[in-house]
Symmetry: C2
Subunit: 158 residues, 2 copies
């Protein structure tokens, strides 16, 4: 069920990407995904994302977060004989607080960090929100394992 | 041997990326690669590029071209038991004329195309130059096979 908050989140993400100088097609703007991770507190715990490409070898996405919005702790487990998704976060706008292995790493624009497969991590945007490019091996969001059992990767706009 | 044209090409690439809203660190600006493919006609045949990340699973780069500059026809052959590099070009700025399989595909900002492994392709920027994001499997530029035997992937700035 698509609510006004979800459509607003999609519009917010499109505007943030445009503010980064990122040009999207009409079809891409309409394909921006929004998830509240099943918790119904989108502005606090949620994520907006656009997948550019996801082949059986690599994936590229843009992630957009509201100010203070959190993507909860999770890991990308092994699948199909691979060690699981390895991913590089590159901050484009705002600040992103990345929690990994008990440490916090703060990424500003132009800074990046690679997260090994099957490693617990979560992230939160700073007070101005954040835009983060994600480069990775093949993405299988449906396999993500969240630390909080209440969290599920549900797409609130599909 | 680094000449003034090579440093100018690096500065041009940094300026084009900045014009796209792409923020680079100081170290990244200094790490922009320039190649004239061994032909000593950089403005006609050449490429400027910045590698964000290149792991044993995936790679992400920005490619920058002068107006009308061409990256000559080549293919990415199989290696290490893989089918060779598969890559997605996403145009960020300007126009890129991609030649693949006897066809020309013109990509404008927000448009993208995926090139299968081991497939001959080349590309040329339109009259305003071009900025292209490349998402791919692992990159091994040293293995590239060029159609013109005079062409070599030499880094003119290192």
């Amino acid at each position: 069920m698509i609510g006004p908050a979800d459509l607003e989140a999609r519009a917010y993400a499109a505007a943030q990407l445009a503010a980064c100088g990122i040009v999207l097609t009409e079809a891409e703007r309409a394909a921006i995904e929004v998830t509240d991770f099943g918790l119904s507190r989108l502005r606090e715990t949620g994520l907006q994302l656009l997948v550019y490409v996801n082949t059986d070898r690599y994936c590229a996405k843009e992630l957009v977060l509201y100010p203070g919005q959190t993507c909860p702790e999770h890991r990308h487990p092994p699948f199909d004989g691979t060690p699981g998704k390895e991913e590089t976060f590159r901050c484009r706008r705002g600040l992103v607080h990345l929690h990994i292995g008990g440490k916090e790493i703060v990424l500003g624009p132009g800074e990046q960090c690679t997260i090994p497969p099957d490693t617990l991590h979560g992230f939160r945007a700073g007070p101005e929100g954040a835009v983060v490019s994600e480069f990775s091996s093949t993405s299988r969001d449906d396999l993500d394992v969240f630390t909080d059992p209440a969290v599920r990767r549900v797409d609130t706009l599909s």
